[in-house]
């Protein structure tokens, strides 16, 4: 009797879990479905739930017309800025942790920089970038994303570095390494998974950014979110392109949740929960 009871409850839970999962995945399914639909299917009433063919035409069009380039722009700016932010952020975090540089205040000040809404600073940043002549360049967006993500990287890496036993570093110092070498040969390998997880999130933030890219790009470095919003034009809503380009933007994220689950909770909670 009790056995049966437990079994029933398990199935009830699984059922609930499936309903919930359906709710969260369906919109993305719908987006994907649109990206494979023909124009007739997209503008059919009642809506077509499953496209008749697995049709890559909408993607083909994006690539043929060079509009998929916006994905490349997103990739270049997000990945290079991630490298910079990770490098400068990690060494800064090391300094904060090991040498208590600037005491507690410097750390608080740095993380508070992340709190400022982009909309508040984007105009002055725009003027600054005009002065430097880096509007609509990779350099511009990379500099911006690096700066914008630095506080996050420092904050997160601070947490990860704090977890590295001090004795490891001291042992290496005694064994004959310089401080710089200790950082590279001991701290970095020890913080490897933290570095990786933080880098992925840094990448995501830059990849998903809209407002900065909207203001600071013109034509050469338009990123995919900016491009997607552009498709909701006045005279033709290019739903097929919205669907296909958005899906291209979602794909890396599917990979992220597929492979990085155990790091995600710490990444999004800014270190509040250690996964």
């Amino acid at each position: 009797m009790k056995q049966w009871d437990q079994g029933a409850r398990l199935w009830a839970r699984v059922f609930c879990a499936m309903i919930v999962t359906l709710f969260f995945v369906f919109p993305i399914y719908w987006l994907g479905a649109i990206s494979f639909k023909t124009a007739e299917e997209i503008f059919a009433y009642p809506p077509v739930w499953i496209p008749a063919n697995f049709n890559f035409h909408n993607y083909f069009v994006l690539f043929r017309d060079g509009e998929a380039w916006s994905i490349w722009n997103s990739f270049v700016t997000a990945s290079i800025s991630t490298l910079f932010a990770m490098f400068f952020g990690t060494i800064a975090a090391y300094s904060l942790v090991r040498y208590k540089t600037g005491g507690n205040h410097l750390g608080i000040w740095i993380i508070s920089q992340r709190m400022i809404p982009p909309i508040c600073v984007v105009f002055p940043v725009f003027l600054l970038f005009v002065a430097w002549d880096i509007v609509d360049t990779y350099t511009g967006l990379i500099v911006l994303y690096t700066a914008f993500n630095l506080p996050y990287v420092i904050w997160m890496m601070r947490g990860y570095i704090q977890e590295i036993p001090l004795e490891l570093e001291q042992s290496a110092l005694v064994d004959g390494l310089t401080r710089w070498a200790v950082l590279w040969k001991v701290v970095m390998p020890m913080a490897k998974s933290g570095l990786f997880a933080t880098a992925v999130f840094t990448f995501i933030f830059a990849w998903n950014d809209f407002l900065f890219a909207l203001i600071l790009s013109r034509s050469d470095v338009v990123t995919f979110p900016v491009k997607v919003t552009g498709y909701f034009g006045a005279q033709s809503s290019l739903w097929s392109k919205v669907g296909a380009l958005s899906m291209l933007g979602v794909l890396p994220m599917i990979f992220v949740v597929g492979t990085m689950q155990r790091f995600i909770v710490r990444g999004i909670s800014m270190g509040a929960v250690k996964g």
Partner: protein
């Protein structure tokens, strides 16, 4: 797939031929405005012009057709930069405020021209127009566009380049149907024909819905606030309304005319398809092509596409297949004074580092011969705007009743009403859009319009009453600001 690719190849071949043809015609006619522009531009060979265009279909013209041709003729490269329509103003001003010289040639919406000109973002063009002898050809642009989308306070800031006007389209199969005709005449005592007044429009719409719904509804119109405000502006003035008092500059939008138009707009929704309140551009357009509505009012491309012009063009594959290709009727909307909704002029950015070349490109694009080809591009969104476009035999033979189409556009180009254009028009329009969404939310028309008038007065006060009054009267005194 294979058929599509064949079609595409054919299209590519066709456009190659088109380029070839245009080259020969250019050589044949000596010293036209286009030729002068090309001749003068050759000294800038090797430079690049950044041209700001509305994203979507618009840029296909400079990207696929005129851009390459211009480069071939002058050696000047055309770099098309796209921005969604609501970003055009932002991007233009942003570049101006920053002094970055990001753009050379601009697409300017007429009602934004005063702001851009007074903010100093646009280059005055008179000197270039004279230098390159373009005044004469500029005069040949259809009157309303010429007189109203070119100058701010007497100075030329733009070359009007788009014959945007809201024309009425009706399904002739329904209007010619004997049963409908007889039934309508029996009920209302006059013939079933394209309506001349809004009263007739309502009666016809109601009658057709009553007899044919849910298969066919009498009409479907723009109802999204952004587009519906164009329809309101038109109907308000047709009903005799004035936006402001010319002396006190007080808003008079809440006059009797305003209230009755607002009430009429709500009433009309009743015979339109369910959900019409949300209709933007696509919905009435696709419903009309599908034969689901008997009448609609929209921009000129709808008239072409409904007739099947440009069918099979890849760029237009998002357009639903027309089921009424040979049944499209064209007429001026009720009142006979269509709204010249939006449209584009070419302007030259004041911050451009290559203003002369930018102007020359604009002149070339805008010239008789080049513009004639551009307005005929199947995927073009540029609508006929020159007297010569309307009478062009080639264009008039594009489909069975293309002549009717061009005649109506021509008539519209004479009687069309200008969009309200003030300093910071957008703020006034914003308030108007807000009022319309309240209208759809079933609020009381009078109350909404009183609020709207209050908001407008406040805006006027902030911007400066005298300054705004000058701009308004400048606009209001144009021949097509109000119906004659």
């Amino acid at each position: 797939m294979s058929i599509q690719s064949i079609v595409r190849k054919l299209l590519i071949a066709a456009s190659t031929i088109a380029v070839g043809l245009s080259l020969t015609t250019l050589e044949a006619s000596a010293q036209s405005a286009a030729d002068r522009a090309v001749e003068a531009a050759k000294k800038y060979s090797g430079t690049t012009l950044n041209v700001l265009y509305e994203a979507g279909l618009q840029p296909l013209d400079p990207k696929n057709f005129t851009g390459p041709l211009w480069e071939k003729l002058t050696g000047i490269k055309i770099n098309v930069i796209e921005a969604p329509i609501d970003q055009l103003f932002t991007k233009t001003m942003q570049a101006h405020k920053a002094g970055s010289g990001s753009y050379d040639v601009l697409n300017v919406l007429p009602n934004q021209m005063p702001d851009l000109a007074l903010a100093g973002a646009l280059e005055p063009l008179d000197k270039f127009v004279d230098k390159y002898g373009y005044r004469e050809e500029l005069q040949k642009i259809a009157p309303v566009y010429r007189d109203n989308q070119m100058k701010v306070e007497g100075v030329i800031y733009g070359l009007p380049d788009d014959g945007d006007v809201l024309i009425m389209y009706y399904n002739r199969a329904i209007f010619d149907d004997a049963k409908n005709k007889a039934g309508f005449k029996a009920k209302h005592g006059y013939d079933l024909a394209p309506p001349k007044t809004w009263k007739e429009f309502s009666e016809i719409g109601q009658y057709l819905t009553d007899t044919l719904a849910p298969k066919v509804y009498g009409a479907g119109l723009f109802r999204q606030p952004g587009l519906a405000q164009f329809m309101f502006q038109e109907r308000f003035r047709v009903a005799g309304g004035k936006f402001f008092d010319a002396d006190t500059m007080k808003a008079t939008i809440n006059s009797e005319a305003g209230i009755s138009v607002f009430k009429g707009m709500v009433e009309d929704n009743k015979y339109m398809p369910p959900g019409v309140e949300q209709w933007g551009f696509i919905e009435p357009f696709s419903a009309f092509l599908a034969g689901d509505i008997a009448m609609t009012i929209s921009w000129p491309p709808v008239g072409r596409w409904a007739a099947g012009y440009g069918k099979g063009t890849e760029a237009l594959n998002w357009i639903p297949e027309t089921k009424i290709a040979d049944k499209v009727g064209y007429a001026l909307p009720p009142g006979g004074t269509p709204e010249l909704a939006a449209g584009f002029s070419f302007g030259v950015a004041s911050g451009s580092k290559n203003k002369e070349a930018a102007y020359l490109f604009s002149q070339w694009m805008n010239s008789e011969e080049i513009s004639l080809k551009r307005v005929q591009l199947p995927y073009a969104l540029r609508d006929p705007f020159r007297t010569s476009h309307f009478s062009n035999p080639e264009y008039r033979s594009r489909w069975s009743n293309a002549g009717d189409y061009l005649d109506v556009l021509k008539a519209g180009a004479e009687t069309g009403l200008l969009d309200l254009s003030l300093l910071q028009t957008d703020r006034y329009e914003e308030a108007m859009r807000q009022a319309i969404s309240r209208l759809w939310a079933q609020e009381d028309p009078k109350e909404i319009l009183d609020d709207l008038a209050g908001q407008w007065d406040k805006l006027t006060k902030r911007i400066g009453l005298e300054k705004q009054k000058r701009v308004y009267n400048d606009w209001a005194n144009k021949p097509n600001a109000y119906p004659k």
